[in-house]
């Protein structure tokens, strides 16, 4: 007999996600991924100045802040023919890299770790043994001292003693599947707090260039921040010295704290390398920060990893890299609250996409959504008709398949230590591990490639950061189309824009979480979240009242639900607001 289980709100993610499940005998048999928020930003951007679009679409997400803005300015530049100078493109790369690493760090420690780490248990740990444990897993983090561990243990004890658990209220602390020894829990809680401190410092790289974080400022045609070593009001040696420090600190944190922690914790939960697999199809246009589309010398940003090419891996075959073809992307709404002119079973390419919301679900408050065909605000993108995974695993596997040296080293090393095979990265633990490996690669690229390049160019007197030739709308074509594919923390992000008579005529974003969180398509194929939970029918869920296991799996994707829902009405028709 099956039991219905609802997880809503699914917390520790960005935005609003609801999961409905049917379980039987301690395992998940059916799953529905339900996005319960819709905002309509792409519609709002229509008819506005394309040079303003970045500020609107940036607000799609405040967690992976910057990435939509960069994707937007690149797409607009592509449409109007602006060529930002190489220093501006490098600055965007540096912002993307630092953003991505801090995003992965926040995800691991603050959004995901509590699935694996038992906070109250840390109060019973021996601080000296916690330090020993940290050393034993190769963590050389400077915070691994007895004083620090003692202070953190006391803090946890105080919280427990106060009877007010604050954000730890209602956690599944007596769930039998918390497996770490108390000392490991204490170390992890200490690193949780260190990471909070650290993210404040790491994001300052982006603040120097964009003025604030979240939601820094960008500019069509380049960057607004001037660099001039001989001016006090420009970015000069003072800021470069600061950035050099933060870049070094970033690499150090990932190498000495994050990567060892991820390896050790996933090692304890090794069976999760066999749990949570989604469809073994992967899409990426390169490693994190890579951009794709058209002329890399012109409007595109640069990439530190030009050696990893865009590509697709299909059906679990890691030996054949298929060329990436953007025209093979289509979006389906069989399970989503929209309607298409040609019928709701059609698949539409993003460039011809329609988004007419039509809510047919029950009036809130409701108990269950999945009895109807439509149950989510998230469309279902497919590549060549197949559901695909995007994100760290897709990028790491693609780079591995192409023999990217540093990726192969890190992956082989981790696989050797854990005793897993590379294809096991398609799993709950695998996604978490891939993210940490990727953070290492990005932090190294920031320290060894992009930032040094910026400084080198400065030495040669290259201080231009803005292309003024296309600022004035009178220099634009009557009609221009542009797009950008950018590899951001959660996966492949693309923006498409059509500029007509100086205004945005059409705007669309296809975002990583749409690829992953979408529901069933017209052929009944599940989206990756759904497949990861219900695919083999054996995903564990021991206690419906404490759905710890599915939380682990969904969190491993790093959901970003505000991103997932995009609205566009390409025909420019009135958006239908359902009032009945």
């Amino acid at each position: 007999m099956s039991t219905r289980v609802v997880i809503d709100p699914l917390t520790r993610i960005e935005g609003h996600l609801r999961i409905e499940l049917e379980t039987e005998g301690g395992a998940i048999r059916k799953a529905w991924s339900e996005t319960t928020q819709f905002r309509g930003i792409e519609t709002i951007v229509q008819d506005r100045d394309p040079r303003d679009a970045w500020a609107f679409v940036q607000r799609i997400c405040g967690v992976c802040t910057s990435v939509h803005a960069i994707a937007s300015v690149v797409a607009v530049e592509n449409a109007i023919g602006a060529n930002p100078p190489r220093q501006a493109r490098l600055i965007r790369d540096i912002v993307l890299a630092s953003q991505e690493v801090q995003d992965h760090v926040i995800h691991f420690y603050h959004l995901h770790a509590l699935d694996w780490v038992n906070v109250p248990s840390a109060a019973t740990a021996d601080p000296a043994k916690a330090v020993e444990f940290a050393r034993s897993i190769g963590s050389t983090w400077k915070g691994n001292t007895i004083e620090r561990m003692t202070a953190v243990r006391d803090t946890v004890q105080q919280i427990l003693d106060s009877g007010q658990l604050s954000i730890f209220t209602g956690g599944y602390w007596d769930h039998p599947d918390y497996r770490l020894p108390a000392e490991a829990n204490l170390m992890a809680v200490a690193h949780y707090l260190d990471a909070l401190e650290f993210q404040r410092s790491m994001i300052r790289i982006g603040t120097v260039f964009g003025g604030k974080n979240p939601h820094p400022n960008f500019l069509v045609g380049g960057m607004a921040c001037t660099i001039d070593l001989d001016r006090s009001e420009s970015i000069n040696q003072v800021q470069l010295d600061q950035i050099a420090d933060w870049v070094a600190e970033t690499r150090d944190f990932v190498a000495s704290c994050y990567l060892p922690d991820a390896l050790a914790i996933m090692g304890v939960y090794k069976d999760y390398f066999d749990i949570g697999a989604a469809q073994p199809n992967y899409l990426a246009v390169g490693l994190a920060g890579a951009t794709f589309g058209g002329d890399p010398g012109a409007s595109r940003t640069t990439s530190a990893h030009t050696e990893v090419k865009p590509g697709v891996l299909l059906d679990g075959d890691l030996s054949t890299v298929h060329p990436f073809d953007p025209t093979k992307i289509a979006e389906y709404i069989a399970s989503a609250w929209y309607t298409y002119q040609d019928g709701d079973d059609a698949g539409l390419a993003p460039a011809q996409g329609e988004t007419t919301p039509q809510y047919t679900g029950p009036k809130p408050p409701f108990e269950w959504l999945a009895d109807a065909d439509k149950y989510t605000w998230c469309k279902a993108p497919r590549y060549d008709g197949k559901p695909v995974q995007v994100g760290p695993v897709a990028r790491i596997l693609l780079a591995y398949a192409q023999g990217h040296q540093r990726t192969c080293e890190l992956v082989d090393d981790a696989a050797g230590k854990l005793g897993i095979t590379v294809d096991q990265l398609n799993s709950t633990a695998g996604r978490t591990l891939a993210r940490a490996v990727e953070a290492m690669i990005s932090a190294e690229a920031l320290a060894e490639v992009t930032f040094p390049q910026l400084v080198d160019n400065l030495k040669k007197g290259d201080i231009d950061v803005f292309d003024n030739s296309r600022w004035d709308p009178s220099t634009w074509p009557d009609k221009g189309e542009g797009f950008s594919f950018v590899e951001v923390a959660r996966g492949n992000l693309s923006h498409w824009v059509t500029v007509e008579d100086g205004k945005v005529a059409r705007y669309q974003a296809v975002v990583p979480t749409t690829w992953l969180a979408g529901g069933r398509d017209a052929d009944g194929q599940q989206g990756p979240y759904e497949e990861s939970l219900a695919g083999a029918g054996s995903h564990p869920l021991h206690d419906a009242a404490q759905p710890l296991e599915p939380l682990r799996t969904i969190h491993s994707f790093d959901p970003c639900m505000s991103c997932a829902v995009h609205v566009l009405d390409v025909e420019g028709a009135e958006l239908q607001v359902v009032t009945s």
Binding site: R12, G40, G163, Q164, F168, G170
Partner: protein, 424 residues
């Protein structure tokens, strides 16, 4: 859900209670005997023993007796907090995480008991909803990020199967202080911009029977968010606010008033195009669209991310994100704020000199500056469409008026209804 408690009606805000040192002392003052309290805790001990996870403790810890619970509860000083995220992008939470003043660690571990916040809380699903319902029943501080979409019967944003509006109403019912944090919670922000496809509104359009403190900004500066919470805790009352409900401690000055580029504005030294010589010299960004003259915010004072920089500091014009409906009123962002009566600089030339070192020495400079300014305005007036801000009440730039010149009878926010520019 409906609470079992009687709704207090338009509740007077009494946040002073948190100044009382501990719950134990409070109980004593209100005449509750230790014996009665112990009896109550005995009941609690029974409940906890039945497996309530909120107080789950490691097996090795001492058993929960009535005595122990009484001791612990007596020591409670942390107010409970419900921190909702409705229709939003999580940027406001991220900004809170970045606060260098009261840090998030202090806030969630020592200052407050944040029993419900979707981004950071351990619990999910039913356990999260239970924590929310429990906290809603008692006295708590309510912080709201995000707007409330009223279209489609609330289906554009649901949490736990309830509409955002329902979630907000339930949490506001017994809240003793309500902080709307971020442009979305305050005025609906980006999703409420034309054509507002989901019918998004801010908190104070839903909660009309209690004061709502509006911490505007997209997002607000992290330190401003945590300071607002800390203000309530340490002062025991809500902060003074301006006409828009914004705390004056962070919103009583225009960006333009304390902008380090202001001397260049007064001197007529403007960035003409991004990355030009003036830009590298840190000249005024008015000409490339700066909305600082119409924007109330502490950005130049507090700056961002541990005082690292701020938008104008990094060369980009202010887009006015602390102002009402800035996505509609202040776009196109790169268009110069329009000329207004009062920027007719000739008539007030002698007053303009206040910003400069000395009237005589600066005379020539002023004249040159004003001529440049006039020219730039003439050019901008004909270029493109007027900003929507034209039709609205905004404080427009007027070098002839310094804050001290503002009419004495101005409201608390020092924003004269008609704008000071008329008088210039």
């Amino acid at each position: 859900m409906t609470s079992s408690l009687t709704p207090p009606g338009p509740a007077p805000i009494d946040v002073g209670r948190w100044r009382a040192p501990t719950l134990g002392e409070n109980l004593e003052q209100s005449g509750v005997s230790r014996r009665d309290f112990l009896a109550f805790c005995g009941v609690l001990a029974g409940i906890f023993a039945m497996g309530d996870t909120a107080l789950a403790r490691p097996a090795s810890a001492e058993p929960l007796t009535a005595e122990l619970i009484a001791d612990k509860l007596s020591a409670v000083t942390k107010p409970n907090v419900v921190w909702l995220q409705l229709q939003e992008c999580t940027g406001c939470m991220e900004s809170t995480l970045r606060s260098g003043g009261t840090t998030i660690e202090e806030a969630v571990l020592s200052l407050l008991s944040v029993n419900y916040n979707e981004l950071v809380m351990a619990a999910a699903g039913d356990a999260a909803n239970k924590a929310l319902d429990e906290t809603n029943k008692s006295d708590h501080i309510l912080v709201v990020n995000g707007s409330i979409p009223r279209g489609a019967n609330g289906a554009y944003c649901t949490i736990g199967g309830k509409s955002a509006e329902q979630v907000l109403r339930e949490s506001a019912e017994h809240a003793s202080a309500i902080l709307a944090v971020g442009a979305c919670a305050v005025w609906g922000s980006v999703q409420a911009s034309k054509p507002n496809p989901t019918g998004a509104v801010g908190v104070d359009e839903i909660i009309t029977d209690k004061p709502v403190v509006n911490i505007s900004g997209c997002p607000p500066i992290g330190e401003v968010i945590t300071a607002a919470v800390a203000y309530v805790l340490t002062q025991g009352e809500l902060p003074a606010v301006d006409g828009e409900g914004r705390p004056t401690f962070a919103y009583d000055q225009r960006i333009h008033d304390s902008c380090p580029r202001r001397p260049h504005y007064d001197a007529g030294q403007f960035v003409r195009t991004f990355d030009d010589e003036g830009a590298r010299m840190g000249w005024c960004l008015y000409d490339v669209g700066c909305k600082g003259p119409s924007t109330f915010s502490a950005c130049p004072v507090i700056q961002w991310n541990l005082h690292t920089s701020w938008p104008i500091g990094a060369g980009h014009p202010c887009i006015g994100c602390t102002e009402k409906h800035f996505f509609d009123r202040f776009t196109p962002f790169y268009q110069t704020l329009p000329n207004v009566p009062g920027l007719g600089v000739e008539a007030t030339a002698e007053k303009v000199g206040w910003g400069l070192v000395g009237a005589t020495a600066a005379g020539v400079g002023i004249h040159a500056g004003l001529t440049a300014l006039r020219r730039s305005l003439a050019r901008k007036r004909t270029a493109g469409e007027p900003l929507e801000a034209l039709g609205e009440k905004v404080w427009l730039p007027d070098p002839s008026v310094r804050p001290a010149d503002a009419p004495a009878d101005a409201p608390a926010d020092r924003r004269p209804a008609a704008g000071p520019s008329q008088e210039g």
